[in-house]
Symmetry: none
Subunit: 139 residues, 4 copies
């Protein structure tokens, strides 16, 4: 249960993790965080908004990025330092979201790695764009 | 059920939202996102790490920031454009986390607002620092 | 984080809170309370009943009344003394329920407030009617 | 899966159902209902209140009454018409709550039954008192 060290990583390494977003995912996420914004949990309200239906919380989809970093690349033992997220398109109930992680830069001296972190939906549309700064595990 | 418009906001406006983090919050969050990084859900593993115990997912605490934005300031109808997060200290089971939102800049022409977004624990230590860019609701 | 005191309330003050009821809400509620009445969790059974489908637990919708009292009117610090509930119509999966709270009577000497407490569905039909007796917070 | 009909019930019939209240019960209930009253989910806040610690939502304990009615007495097929609840003492994390149901009155013509409905804690203290009006199933 230890991820890749900075020596085992190279620029261009990739990982991904996918899940179809269920209504219960959104409701559990709302319940844990207290985010009862009606855009997420009130269908009558949501139908009158720009998005026309309930949408998933942006940080719920971003959770798949964190999951991919913490379990796959670099994996267990990684310290999460910084995450930048651009929410570029809505995520609806039933969408299948894939988090994509790619190594952009490696700083062996500081033990820091910059990752390109995106989420796309089942149509290939990017819904979240951004970067993460992490410190991989040491052996 | 509509939040504050750009005309109703002023620099320095603040809102906050608090919750004591339970083990069940972390487990439900892990279940929804698939983030089974052992640092969050394996106490035997976690006791051997730098943090000495299971810690909450950074994006779980960040969820309180999103909740405060979407329900309080600016509130319902806000479009979430960008979030930057610096994870500066760990969050443990039993910590009481308060998300603090403060209006930093208002761009009336673009209908954009920059928010200072932080989370602190019960000792007053900042655990997450960062900024959000949002578009408040229109009347 | 303190609600309205008895001096800050007046007869006719109102608050409301809405949520679309999901299947997962009913299942989680059943799991927490142990209310595995087949009317709520067994679709085969429920189709043969008067209601023709699974219905939400009456006290689940009533929970939105308590949520509106404890977070909005009077809000945090309120002591819940008594609740009367008349279950007048069924709530189905997918219904959007709005809890409506209204101040009916104020007793400044006893620090007691009587609230009209109702829930309606997305068609405007009352599904729960009743009254609550609460003691608002003191400054 | 059918409960007792009005002919099968007699005054004095009793049933009970018990559960130890966990922190996760309170957190799931808060998540389903949106009742993020800090008295239930913020330990730092709760320690400064009259109750000295986080308490369970009153309607969460009341859910055990509904569970006992809907699964035991009269059981499946019962229509819940009315519930009166007096919240007489707080319920803390770790308390073991027993819902007690007792048949008080039977109206064979209207097919109505009045139940005495109480919850007590592990010390035998009544925490909820009240009555329910129900319509038992018909064969």
């Amino acid at each position: 249960m230890i991820g890749k060290t900075v020596d085992e990583l190279k620029v261009g390494d990739r990982a991904e993790l996918s899940k179809t977003i269920s209504e219960s995912d959104i409701y559990l996420y709302a319940g844990v965080t207290g985010d009862f914004n009606p855009a997420h949990i009130n269908q009558v309200y949501a139908e009158k908004t720009f998005f026309r239906s309930r949408i998933a919380h942006g940080l719920l989809s971003a959770g798949f990025i964190s999951a991919a970093i913490g379990t796959l690349l670099p994996g267990p033992g990684t310290i999460y330092i910084r995450q930048e997220l651009d929410f570029v398109a809505p995520v609806y109930i039933g969408d299948t979201i894939t988090a994509l992680i790619e190594v952009l830069k490696i700083d062996i001296i500081e033990n820091h790695v910059v990752l390109k972190t995106r989420c796309k939906n089942q149509k290939g549309e990017i819904v979240i764009d951004g970067k993460a700064l992490v410190s991989p595990p040491k052996k």
